[in-house]
């Protein structure tokens, strides 16, 4: 049985919208998807004032960036798959396997091209690779190795963005906790019931 989930979207108030800055959406990304995500998070959090709206937008922007970086990683690996294949072929091709060129490097380059255009050649190469204990997963491994430095940089940026995103949630919680403390005091004063509470600004 399929369940349709209806999400009520919380719109940004007109007076707050200009204060929040533009959506960090690339031309290759969907603006509607970003706006929907922002509206859904706002619906869940129900921001009460400008400060909370700023924190909500921050959370959404960081989540968006995290999504972008996570999607970029497989793309960065895929782009060098052919180079990885070429590298592997260069190491296993013997001179009797040469069909097109005199050098191992050039032969590997031609065969790597044919891998993607000729199914029969791909099968032959898979059989050749299997003789050396190499399979398609090792092409991926080689591609990752070729991109290891860049992938490590992306991982660092991801960790940084994830930490900041989580901090946004904590800031909203802290703000509401302090707000409820403030409101709690007001209520206690009104009801004639109050006591000293030790409060100190955070140590910066």
């Amino acid at each position: 049985m399929s369940v349709k989930i209806v999400v009520k979207k919380n719109k940004i108030p007109a007076e707050v919208r200009p204060l929040l800055g533009r959506a960090p959406v690339l031309r290759s990304e969907q603006v509607d998807a970003y706006e929907d995500f922002l509206a859904c998070v706002a619906e869940a959090v129900c921001p009460k004032d400008t400060l909370e709206w700023i924190l909500v937008k921050d959370y959404v922007d960081l989540a968006w960036e995290i999504r972008r970086l996570r999607c970029a990683k497989p793309g960065m690996i895929d782009v060098v798959r052919k180079q990885a294949l070429r590298s592997i072929l260069e190491s296993i091709l013997e001179s009797e396997d040469f069909e097109h060129a005199a050098s191992r490097t050039l032969e590997a380059e031609v065969k790597a091209d044919e891998w993607y255009t000729d199914v029969a050649v791909k099968q032959e190469l898979l059989e050749l690779m299997s003789r050396y204990g190499v399979d398609e997963d090792m092409i991926t491994a080689e591609a990752i190795a070729l991109r290891s430095r860049e992938l490590a940089q992306v991982d660092l940026m991801l960790a940084s963005a994830e930490k900041r995103r989580n901090e946004m949630l904590r800031e909203i919680s802290l703000y509401r906790e302090l707000l409820s403390t403030k409101l709690g005091d007001s209520i206690k004063v009104v009801e004639g019931e109050a006591y000293d509470i030790a409060l100190a600004p955070p140590n910066n």
Binding site: R27, D78, E171, P201
Partner: protein
């Protein structure tokens, strides 16, 4: 004492040191920090002053005491700085996408028809842009971290002092249980 052989090697290595040498390349390198302007304080940009004031008043809420307005202004400046960093990040990635597209191949930037292109194509473009812009993205991370830290400090000051002010208004301990 450095040996003559070592001295010659040092001088040879120093000649190979990187950095602009011609007048044209030095002039170009001098403009690097102007490209994004993120090292220039927002306050110095006259057109930003009104924006900072507007956001500062919104963040201060109902408070009008000078200290609160000052902290709200600091928080507003940091927030606008953050927006500036993120806008520049988007610009850098869009620029990289345009630079890395094969000649004659339409990109989302050219056609502005993201929805009609396959998701795979868009993902590939984004991946290429991220890869191409990695050094710049890492540098922007530093600016973002600084702005976030400044904003957090100012906002937390506002939050805590609002409670203290409330408490002082009510006279500290009020009434009895």
């Amino acid at each position: 004492m450095t040996s003559p052989r070592k001295l010659i090697a040092n001088r040879e290595n120093a000649r190979r040191s990187t950095g602009p040498r011609t007048l044209a390349s030095k002039a170009r390198a001098a403009q690097n920090s102007m490209r994004h302007g993120l090292s220039v304080s927002l306050v110095r940009a006259a057109e930003m002053s009104a924006e900072i004031d507007r956001l500062g008043v919104a963040l201060a809420g109902s408070r009008r005491d000078p200290a609160a307005l000052e902290q709200a202004r600091i928080a507003a400046e940091a927030e606008l700085e953050l927006q500036r960093v993120r806008a520049y990040r988007t610009f850098v990635l869009d620029e990289k996408t345009a630079q890395m597209a094969p000649l004659g191949c339409p990109t989302a930037a050219d056609e502005n028809r993201v929805s009609s292109r396959s998701a795979k194509t868009n993902h590939e473009e984004t991946a290429n842009a991220v890869f191409g812009a990695l050094p710049e993205l890492a540098a922007l991370d530093r600016y973002e971290k600084r702005a976030l830290s400044q904003r957090r400090r100012a906002m937390q000051w506002l939050m805590y002092t609002a409670i203290v002010a409330q408490h002082d208004t009510s006279g500290g301990s009020v009434g009895t249980r």
